[in-house]
Amino acid sequence: MELKNLLENQIVLLKDFLPVGVMALGLVVLLMSELTALKTRYPNAFAWIFIVFFSVGPLFVEPLSVLEAKGSFNILLSLSALVFGLQNWSLTDKSRQNSEYYALVGSIFIGAYVLLNTSHFLVAIIGLELMSIPAYLLTCWNTKKSSYEAGLKYFIYGGFSTAVLLYGVSWWYGATGFLELGSIEVLVVALNQSSTPFVLMTAGCIVIGLAYKIAAFPMHFWSPDAYQEAPTPVVGLFAVVPKIAGFVFLEKLTLVLMGTTHWQSVQKIYLLLAVLSLLLGNLAALKQNKAKRMMAYSSIAHTGFMLFPLLHASESNLSYFHFYLVLYAFMNMALFLFLDYYERKFDVSSLVDFKGLGSKSVFMGVLLLILLISLTGLPPTGGFIAKLLIFTGMYEGLVQSGDLIFLFILILAGINTVIALFYYLKIPYFMFMKKEAVVKKINPKSFLVVNFLGFILVFLITVSFFMPTWLMGIINNVNFVQ
């Protein structure tokens, strides 16, 4: 290759580097400033550096070559970085004032950005690993025996599922000759030439590899332990950032598989994952008595819900899917913000500890109530609209394809929404209906920023009930996938 061609290529490629480069620069700045006296003078400096680099970085969206940044979940990524930074800014915990803490979290954001914007399998795997390794380390962050155990569990599952994913990808490459998911028609033609069991195995391996990141059924075992042991702001990230990135990549994969003649069988994998995640998540959540553990199962159930639109990935169904994804992100960001608030202020960890806290902080209590109603999927919240849209999509699927699977899903999802009501409303029940037994320690520090952020997020969730078209308009205007 001539030098001139190479250089021209380089200049085109430099645009790829802008968002990732900003974030990587943030990583370096964070690590370098550990060497200066910045930390002793301004204890919250790292949080500010984090916010500056990581909430600005993902916004430099350019049409790229290797990374196909046509998606705009990047805005959500940037918002999530902002929330995380502000949440940690208002804390005084020593172990969260290390630059390493922010650097590891920053790496999760870089990985998520890469996974969101690529349609190349190998780049996606680099993104997945960039998200995974720091996640294992952050799970162990409290350096207790139980958190090491959770981290190890996470690590073993992660390694296993990456191996399965790579195995699937290597067969995919053998059968199609492409590692990019960009040219759908070519891929469909290539896949149609292979037999159905082969495509089933290949797609199954890849989907199960991704299921680990989105915490769907066969790969969900790590999530309750990791959620229980990791620092709460980080758990908020685990629930939002890798899940969105994984789902967007899964959607790109689905758009290819959907066109093949094998889709009828491959669909069954999705169906199995979705139904089992939904059932297991909801039924296991009923029995939990720790708040964060319960929310881990709730997030597994939500994963099941979000897999349904991919079964019938028509254009309208995909926009419903995006709507649910955005609302899910808002709800979980807010949820872990509140759990962190209660954990720090009232030392709450199990559900019983919420006893009588409703009268201690009425404002936050009411916000949390609205949020939990939204997570259940009842009016007047955005969660209701999101669930309603999924149901609408399934009904459309039933009418258009006449497949009775969709009827089954409709009934099952309806039953599960009722089950979800029982465990979500346990927290408000303890907060408002029970009198407080013992006054636990109350941390006097005010959390103004957290209160404000929580209010904004819950406000957004409520607004999206009254004006769903507004959010839908934003979602439809930005092209999410190609």
Binding site: V114, I133, A190, F198
Partner: protein, 166 residues
């Protein structure tokens, strides 16, 4: 062609025998040494598939680097306790069942594959071509891996220092 086939079966046999040996032996040191053979056999297969670069990295990184470290660690542990490190093979029946199931399912599935990729010709993916790719088209991936290594290193050092303190 016949001769190449023969050699490739030879290498495959090495990999299979060495890998099953890892599971059958109870001594961890033997397992590590058998892993060396397995990796070398794989490197041989890569050479036959005209992927010299992968073969060389396989030998340099796995055999030369990772496995030497593993063997070192095992020998140090051995000196420390005075007994050879021994592991138990649990769940033998379930394991065998899983293996048979896995081989059956994967074997049945891949019998229906239609390959779109042909075997690379000689020199098609030489070291030079890979080098050019790494600094042009795949530069971003290359740099991302650098970030990945940095972050892993930072995390490892943080935890190592924290454990020493406590």
């Amino acid at each position: 062609m016949e001769f190449t086939n023969f050699i490739s079966y030879f290498f495959i046999a090495i990999v299979v025998v060495a890998s099953s040996g890892i599971f059958l032996t109870k001594n961890v040191l033997y397992a590590a040494l058998l892993l060396v053979f397995s990796m070398l056999g794989l490197a041989g297969i890569y050479v036959l598939l005209n992927a010299e670069f992968v073969a060389v990295t396989q030998i340099m990184i796995y055999v030369g680097g990772v496995l030497v470290l593993v063997v070192f660690a095992i020998m140090l542990a051995h000196n420390y306790s005075g007994k050879p490190l021994v592991v138990e093979n649990n769940n033998l029946k379930l394991g065998l069942f899983t293996v048979v199931l896995f081989v059956g399912v994967v074997g049945y599935s891949i019998s229906g594959v239609h390959y779109a990729v042909q075997k690379e010709q000689d020199g098609a993916n030489s070291v030079e071509a890979i080098g050019v790719q790494l600094i042009s088209r795949n530069l971003l991936s290359f740099e991302l891996i650098a970030v990945f290594l940095l972050v892993s290193l930072v995390g490892a050092i943080y935890f190592a220092s924290k454990i020493r303190k406590t």
